[in-house]
Symmetry: C2
Subunit: 232 residues, 2 copies
């Protein structure tokens, strides 16, 4: 069951105090725990997760719409999906100290369920669903102002620039060109790649990386730098 220490922390750190303690408990209860403890009349978090998922999508969208007015719809959508995906919310669950509080069945615990990012994300969503039911959307917003929104503003979720696309757009301003990426030393070291980028058959720049994708990105970045410096 959720610890008194955790309940105290929620109140002191985030000003969150549940009226209905069962809602909080349900948000932290995995179905494997319910299955192993049929006598406890406790539900699992799945329906709260269904609701919390939508609550978070809405509050995050509202925040982005109001605070990131310089972004267009495509950029907003990409940023939103970076935030609401598994990586993002599982990080938030860890940051908020949710991990040790989850009620897991013995089998799920042994199978490493507590470490699964998808499960941590579920619990973060369920918690926000429970908070919404208990105290309304303003309480969720107040919690997110202290947790998720600062992480958004830190740039943590901002998609990294795609240099390959940028290079393509730059080069094709005046019509189609032939851009080719070629790995030039794959055999030398399996953990380091060197890639050359050619435009209409002429090598423009090269890049290195731990994998082919990263090496291509660096090659495109170097090409862009060379092209835009040359234009000055």
């Amino acid at each position: 069951m959720v610890s008194t220490k955790f309940i105290k922390m929620l109140d002191e750190k985030y000003g969150v105090k549940f009226h209905d303690a069962r809602l909080l408990e349900e948000a932290f209860t995995h179905s494997s725990y319910v299955n192993e403890n049929p006598k406890k009349t406790l539900g699992d978090y799945e329906k709260l997760e269904f609701l919390g998922d939508a609550v978070l999508e809405f509050t995050v969208s509202d925040y982005l719409y109001r605070h990131y007015r310089h972004l267009n719809e495509g950029e907003l959508t990409r940023l939103r999906s970076n935030i609401v995906r598994t990586e993002g919310f599982s990080k938030m669950a860890l940051d908020c100290g949710f991990k040790p509080e989850i009620n897991l069945g013995v089998g799920e615990e042994k199978a490493g369920g507590r470490e699964r990012k998808a499960l941590l994300e579920d619990v973060f969503e369920a918690f926000n669903g429970a908070l919404f039911l208990d105290q309304g959307i303003e309480a969720v917003e107040s919690f997110l102002k202290q947790t998720v929104y600062p992480v958004i503003d830190s740039g943590f979720f901002t998609p990294s620039r795609d240099f390959k696309t940028d290079l393509q757009e730059y080069l094709q301003q005046n019509g189609s060109v032939d851009i080719e990426y070629k790995v030039i030393n794959e055999s030398q070291s399996p953990s380091s790649f060197r890639v050359e980028v050619s435009v209409n058959g002429q090598v423009l720049a090269s890049g290195e990386g731990h994998n082919k994708k990263k090496a291509e990105q660096q090659a495109a970045q170097h090409a862009l730098e060379r092209l835009t410096e040359g234009g000055k």
Copy 2:
């Protein structure tokens, strides 16, 4: 531009009266119209659609959570995705008389844009995004109470029952059984299929349909009827 007749209808039929008329106008303005009318300082609906999409996901989820308590999380999720998908909201846009009010560019109009379901869905989302910005979430809920929620309650969005899954669950209550579906007259008519369902090698029932999937569903339905009648 949105007609005065439409503005009057929104007020009289749904009690919706925008404080900021520009928000309403923006919700009905496609990018093709903005491109052709650069002198009008009007934005297109895309950012309102980004917001409205999340507003609708949230309000619909909240409604389902509170009013469909007998459904489990999987059923709630399926029902929600039936509602928020293109078919659902484009129908709502038509029902609410949105179609003639959309500001479209000449090219988009000629290309049949006004008939595109995806565009109608976009406008329905954008309208709800605009209404939320203008008057808050309660105003959106009040509008949906008169439009979307009754359609949900009519069963319009309820997924049709999956008889194959139901049959499997029924038969495997006491352990694993071997269920087989077999097309028995595919060659006779390409537009009608007859399928037999066998359990542990014994034919239980058959079904017909325009395609194999439908014939299998009917076979499973007939099998379920036979099994549950027999059990009475």
